[in-house]
Symmetry: C2
Subunit: 292 residues, 2 copies
DNA sequence: CGCAATTTTGAGAACCGTCAAAGACCGTGG
DNA sequence: CCACGGTCTTTGACGGTTCTCAAAATTGCG
């Protein structure tokens, strides 16, 4: 007989979280590719967190479609509502019918699915500029949950508003489609990582991807980034046990590749790490608006 | 040191494929849920493959958005071009800039990514009615490849035509967005399976999902379905070795749950299998057009 | 200062991969 | 008709990666 296992979930002790990230933005160009850094200095960047808060959506969508004035004003109407959520309490819940999605202005969140035996798989982490629960909004019921890892600030996007905006300004719909496609590409990349890479490669890839994404919004560099994730969270994301994550991180550290310590990820030897992980970010490449 | 392994890929012996599926369609309602079957009879269904060929796109999108006459006629213009591909030769190639996507009219295909060491991860299989390479079309470069598993018939959708249609008829853009979202939901479900389920649960889930999807387009039932997949292909999809797939399939068969034999998947005890796999298809639910 | 969450380490076992080889099936060509 | 090669399936033996259980060390916080 095939045993129906009774595994205790490895990743449950639910992070009330250790540190609240400070999401100060440098004026880094969102379109900037990860290749051309000034690979440099300020990890704990100073600056104002204002810009991202007001037009995270503009930025995100503008990366895919060159938006006209009217389209921008429609967008402005779309995500006026600002809200705050505290770490640990779900924003979106699996099985619920959602009326709104959000755009993350500051803080970290994660989207995950729970299995019946209590295990969970984190599908992705969301960082400033990312959608929260977009798919839940589009589909009838949410197939996943979203939990803030730190306290987060978001702007709310109502279902009817969004669908209405699509009818008014078709290019907006296209923009959202493109943004969603890139998100899907990222999920696909995670799938490959979990399906075909060993623990060390997986974790290396995971950290490199996070770094690249954070760099795009000015919250990281080739040197490293601030990271509020516990090893339990990482484990749930890469499909390993927390214990094994710990062991592998030690290995990577001892090999001089990357150090995860005190809420910081430091790339000790970025190039060697990228090579080791076979890190390939073409799936994130976004040189400019696809739609002029 | 962390060893950089030199694994030979488990799934390469490239299937020139054993059997060409006959994609005869029953007049099953595409919106029909998997719950209410006449759980029945004709696995090797007879009938004409005509309907799906002509308006696979209409059907697919119509499931999400109630389309008007003009929108339907725009769609008609969109995928006039019919093409055929032989099994085994890639339709879309990773890294290429694609100008067209396709809608599968008959046959099976798979989308996959190759790692540098030659391993591959199959992201999903496509069955009649599914998009091929939609994401490749939307993004600048394709992040994956698409290979026909059997000989396939497709209708072609040109990039510019599609984007043009979006501008003309915004609801079409919304429809494609919704369709793409459901595809993403499916990838997410695969991710969970690979990340958090053991080999037997994974395979069971995999077969059940295929069955549900095929049933929606009239190519399967609760009793089973015709299936051109080799164990190598299944292995590459669920992130296992082909050898282990074989062992687990034997186990499932001996437990009286499901039998995979001679191009056929037979659900010997559907309910027990679904229970064993914790199969949950809310992520596929689609009761009717979301947009009236 | 003490509790809770997180990180770290060890030991043993389970799951799954690798290697190897034999058997089954199918089409081809002699 | 049979031999042959190719692909796919099946099985066994062995080893490694990763999981589980358990407990200690560390950190954060009230």
């Amino acid at each position: 007989m095939l045993p129906v296992e009774d595994r205790a979930h490895p990743g449950r002790p639910n992070s009330t979280c250790c540190m609240v990230s400070n999401n100060h933005l440098r004026s880094a160009d969102l379109h900037q590719l990860f290749g051309n850094f000034h690979d440099t200095t300020s990890l704990s960047s100073v600056g104002k967190a204002v810009e991202m808060r007001n037009n995270a959506l503009e930025r995100k969508l503008g990366a895919f479609v060159a938006l006209s004035e009217t389209e921008l004003s429609v967008l402005d109407e779309l995500n006026k509502r600002r809200r705050t959520f505290v770490a640990g309490r779900d924003i979106v819940e699996q099985g619920q019918t959602e009326q709104s999605a959000y755009v993350l202005a500051s803080g970290w969140a994660c989207s995950y699915k729970l299995l019946q035996d209590g295990q969970r798989q984190i599908v992705d982490f969301q960082i400033p500029g990312d959608f929260l629960g977009l798919r839940s909004l589009l589909m009838h019921v949410s197939d996943h949950s979203v939990e803030p890892i730190t306290d987060v600030e978001v702007t709310e996007v109502l279902r009817d508003d969004l669908l209405g905006a699509f009818t008014q300004t078709p290019r907006l719909a296209t923009a959202v489609l493109l943004a969603a496609s890139r998100d899907e590409a990222m999920v696909v990349e995670h799938l490959v990582g979990i399906g075909r890479r060993n623990a060390a490669e997986r974790l290396a890839n995971f950290l490199l991807e996070l770094g690249a994404r954070l760099t795009l919004v000015g919250l990281g560099s080739k040197a490293g980034f601030e990271c509020p994730l516990t090893q339990y969270l990482m484990a749930d994301a890469v499909g390993l046990s927390a214990v094994h994550v710990n062991r592998v991180l030690r290995q990577l550290r001892e090999d001089g590749l990357v150090t995860v310590h005190e809420g910081f990820v430091s790339f000790d030897d970025y190039d060697r790490l990228a090579k080791f992980a076979e890190f390939d970010l073409t799936y994130m490449d976004q040189i400019g608006p696809l739609l002029k």
